[in-house]
């Protein structure tokens, strides 16, 4: 599945998108953030406060307990400041 990062999440991770293949045990957005955070120090820093990071699956906002199975595109970003 594709993962996209925006704003300061993108700056901390160091890339705007990537393709990932998490194991089946990674079931929810919350699980995914923890799994990504364990990759290395860079990812750990990016996801150190998961509560302030928002997520979307296939262009729709989702909660941390949302299931990621079947997702084509997941995005992580800070609270929005548009408008």
């Amino acid at each position: 599945m594709k993962v996209k990062y925006f704003a300061w999440v993108r700056e901390r991770v160091g890339k705007s998108e990537e393709t990932i293949d998490p194991p089946d045990s990674v079931r929810t957005i919350e699980d995914l953030m923890a799994w990504l955070g364990r990759r290395d120090e860079t990812y750990a820093h990016a996801f150190e406060t998961p509560k302030v990071i928002r997520a979307a699956i296939d262009h729709a906002h989702v909660r941390p307990d949302a299931a990621i199975a079947g997702a084509r595109e997941i995005a992580f970003f800070p609270p929005m400041t548009g408008g």
């Binding site: 704003a7 970003f77 800070p78 929005m80 408008g83």
Partner: protein, 155 residues
Amino acid sequence: MTAKVTIRIQEADFDIAREISALTKGRNDIGAVVSFSGICRDSDDGNAIAALTLEHYPGMAEAEIARHVETAMSRWPLTGVSVIHRVGRIVPGENIVLVLTASQHRQAAFAGAEFLMDYLKANAPFWKREESGSGTSWVEARHHDDQAAARWTKP
């Protein structure tokens, strides 16, 4: 007649009069047009702003705005809605966002415009980066924007 909906995300500035004209052209059933434009200020909490850069999530931004417009049109009898959101580098005094609503009577147009702005502020995937004398920083989301959006939720 079907409602006219325009949603655009663009770097270029917009002309409010031209957009109102486009929204109302050819229709005689519109009695009210409400216009809201968001403008870049030159200071934030006393800190002078040199410029704002707006980042967005292409694909989701359009989809999210469209969802909000659809919700607004299902709640109020709007005959037209335009939402134009700029992205890229914007300097103080320049336009950032435009919301136009049209209806037969003013109540729907006023309510629809306010609803759309409250929801855009809370949910539309855009992020502002501020350039000031002290460097560049990401603008933090305001809790009261989430509260403003929440007050439209029916009990």
